[in-house]
């Protein structure tokens, strides 16, 4: 009885339908009005379902926000292709293009900010960060093996050097990422043009 949280399977189509509607509504609200708008009442209203149903699925508001965010997963930096430099350029370009979308920036910033006070959100952030670092590290290893990179760079440093400026440009400077900037970043981790 009571509440079965995220991750628990419920094959009942009614459950699934409610869940989907709730998550869709929660994400829409997050994008339109920010995390403060993701309340049980607003979500229920937006989803066109009963308020009690939202409580049944996600008892606490933060769980609701967390679930709304975890929808957007990052398919970046998978399957490195040689030569690494052009492949990495493409990947960074794709990431930058996504970060320029308000909905992606919104989720990213909510994740970054929420992590300061909410340990569960911090876990989700750490997981996302670790995934990117691992994948980038694998790609850089290949670059070292194939001779594209002279020295091995610390993957954590490389990640912050490559992705940090993209995040800064799209969120703080509210601008778009140029190819010239991406090239500078690739130079910075040791790639030759």
């Amino acid at each position: 009885m009571s509440h079965y949280n995220a991750g628990v399977t419920s094959t009942d189509p009614r459950s699934t339908r409610s869940r989907t509607a709730i998550l869709t509504a929660a994400r829409a609200l997050l994008l339109k009005e920010g995390p403060a708008a993701v309340t049980h009442q607003r979500v229920a209203q937006e989803a066109g379902i009963g308020r009690a149903t939202v409580y049944r699925h996600w008892a606490r508001p933060e769980q609701l926000l967390l679930a709304a965010m975890s929808g957007s997963d990052l398919p970046h930096f998978r399957d490195p292709a040689t030569p690494i430099r052009p492949w990495l350029h493409d990947q960074l370009r794709a990431l930058a293009t996504e970060m320029e979308l308000p909905e992606v920036a919104a989720v990213t910033l909510t994740l970054m900010q929420g992590a300061v006070w909410n340990p569960e959100i911090a876990d989700q952030r750490d997981h996302a960060t670790a995934t990117v670092t691992t994948r980038l590290g694998a790609a850089l290893d290949i670059a070292v093996e194939s001779g594209e990179l002279a020295t091995r760079v610390d993957p954590t440093d490389a990640t912050s050097i490559l992705i940090g400026p993209l995040v800064y440009r799209t969120t703080m400077q509210a601008g778009s990422v140029t190819d010239a900037l991406i090239d500078s970043l690739l130079d910075a981790v040791g790639f030759r043009r």
Copy 2:
């Protein structure tokens, strides 16, 4: 009658005292529990003053949050000293050390996130960003003149390359900034070791 907003002078010591108490309490709440906790009621409680008084000074919650954030100003990248590279290294080190403090990270992220949905916060963010870019640009110009930099770098790009990774490291990777990372960034904008 009604509300006199921030910027309006009121020489009455009682006003000043209330204002100070409110801002102190608002900042403390922002640090401890995040922007959602910065409400009129919580601030009044924290400051030990009447709830109505908070309304009198800042009628809307977002103004309250904005006022709480605008307290922390950035004294970074002022007065460039030659040679630029070691000076810039010191400045980035100082900025990184500050960003590692939870209270500074909290304000920065609140600014970044709030800017997505609140135009006034976006203005404040843009002002902070423009200031940093201008100062960094001035320092880089000096470096070009004195021969430390071979080519002139776009100040906006340089800012994202230098500061982006620091922000990423301290907020996404939840780690500390090493001198080696700072050196890599200085290399990336064209400085020689």
